[in-house]
Each structure stands twice: as C-alpha cells, then as structure tokens.
C-alpha cells in the first residue's frame, strides 16, 4: 500500500500544475481581490498563478500566515 504523494510522477505534476491554476482562478473572488491594496492583490494573483504560497509571501513580503488568511477570505482554495 502506498500513499498518494509517493505515487506522484513528473507527468502528474504537470497535470496538477494546470489543474491547480484553473481551479484557483475559477474559485477566486476577483471582486474582493481587486479591492485590495496593490501588494496584497499582487501576492494573491501570484499565488493563483503558481500555487506557491511560500514564494508569494517572500516575494511580496507578507507573512505567510497572514497571506493564508487572505487566501481564504479571497475564496482561493489551496491545492497540490
């Protein structure tokens, strides 16, 4: 018996990237996101595009815990 993560292949990662981006874009509350100050908006847009909350928090200098709270408020699901 194996865990789902053990079974992931590079091909799966490609599929997950594309799927994740689509889901995050679709579920996001864009009205809320566009109402945010520039830095927060860009951080969320970056997250929607990449699914990488860590890099989003570092790039836009927002605490990762706070950014995660904002992600939830903005209706964006975490993926991968």
């Amino acid at each position: 018996m194996a865990h789902p993560t053990e079974l992931l292949t590079p091909k799966d990662l490609e599929i997950l990237e594309e799927w994740g981006r689509r889901v995050r874009r679709e579920k996001a509350n864009w009205e809320f996101i566009n109402s945010l100050p520039n830095n927060f908006r860009k951080a969320l847009e970056y997250y929607i595009e990449t699914g990488d909350i860590r890099t989003a928090s570092v790039k836009f200098n927002i605490n990762i815990y706070l950014l995660n709270e904002l992600r939830i408020k903005a209706g964006i699901p975490s993926t991968i």
Binding site: P4, L16, I53, I64, N68, P77
Partner: protein
C-alpha cells in the same frame, strides 16, 4: 518510533481542520524548527502549535551545522534546476531536520514535493501532504470508516475547513488505497 518534521505551509492549513489534534495519534513526536514559530503569531495556528508544544507532542529542534549543510545542498540543487520552484528557509530546514532525525516530511510546499520527485536520492524520507495524513488517520483507525463514502467525507470535511481542493489524481489514489485497506480489514 514514528517522527514527523512539519513546515509552516502544512501547519497553517492543518491548524484550521476540525480534527487537527488527531495528528498526534499517528506520530510519536512532531518536530519543528524555530523558523516555524517566527512565522505564526496569532489565531488557530498559534493555538495549535503552542498546545502541542506544551503537551510534549511537538518539539522545537535547534539547527546545527549538519542541517545548514543539508539546506545548502538542497538549495543549490533547486537553484540549478529550473523545474524546481524556489526553495525557502522554513521548508528547507524542515527537510534538513527530517534527514538528520530520519522523520517523515509533512508539507504542502511545491518545492519540497518537486525536489522529492525529481531527486529522490537527495530526500529518501517519505514526503506526505494532507491527503496522506488523512489516509493514515483512516488506515490507523483514528477516524473510523466503514466504506468509501465515509472516507470521502473526511476529505470533504478537510476541504471545507481549510478551503483546500484535492485533485482528481489524489482523490482517485486515496479511494484506491482506502478500498484496498477496507478489503484487507474485511478478509
């Protein structure tokens, strides 16, 4: 003894889950670095982490030159391979702790996951995400399930609490593993 090294990417989601405390039933000890503590300063994640620390289920691990060396090596690999997303401090130290103390790595960080898949020799330890932890809660009967629908409800609960979407790939594999486990339980 089953140990886990957790990073912030996993903790900030898991702390929102209604059954978050069940994680202590599948690990004897959870290890975190100071970097994790620096990043959380309020809310459910802080409550969760301080509760586990005070009850002795979680331990703060000081970083030594050994972890620094491992971190440097992994960051170098990530920098040199354009397929690997940026690898940052908290996550790389979570992996370094796992390699030093032979623990499972529990993360939701892309860079760690990509590194594991493309460089399995560099990270021989298992890497788990939330879907794997939920599966383990089922397999260890921490959460009782009688059928696949019960198991999928657990995944749904997590998705709702954390605002997380699981991919069809992960759901399918989760289902297959649960079916196999249920069959073994019933035979």
């Amino acid at each position: 003894m089953r140990l886990a090294s957790l990073d912030t990417c996993f903790l900030i989601d898991w702390a929102l889950y209604r059954r978050r405390n069940y994680i202590i039933k599948i690990f004897d000890k959870i290890l975190i670095s100071e970097h994790v503590l620096r990043e959380i300063y309020s809310g459910k994640t802080l409550d969760f982490v301080t509760e586990l620390l005070s009850k002795g289920f979680m331990t703060l691990i000081p970083l030594t030159s050994q972890e620094e060396e491992i971190a440097r090596r992994l960051i170098t690999i990530a920098l040199s391979d354009p397929r690997i997303p940026e690898l940052h401090e908290t996550e790389v130290y979570a992996v370094a702790i796992a390699l030093t103390y032979n623990t499972i790595i529990v993360t939701e960080n892309k860079a760690v996951l990509w590194l594991k898949i493309y460089y399995p020799n560099e990270i021989p330890q298992p890497v788990w995400r939330s879907i794997d932890v939920l599966l383990e809660l089922v397999k260890k009967s921490v959460i009782k399930v009688n059928n696949i629908e019960d198991a999928l409800k657990i995944v749904e609960e997590y998705s709702i609490d954390v605002k997380h979407s699981f991919s069809h790939i992960d759901i399918r594999r989760f289902q297959e593993e649960v079916m196999l486990w249920l069959t073994q339980q019933n035979s």
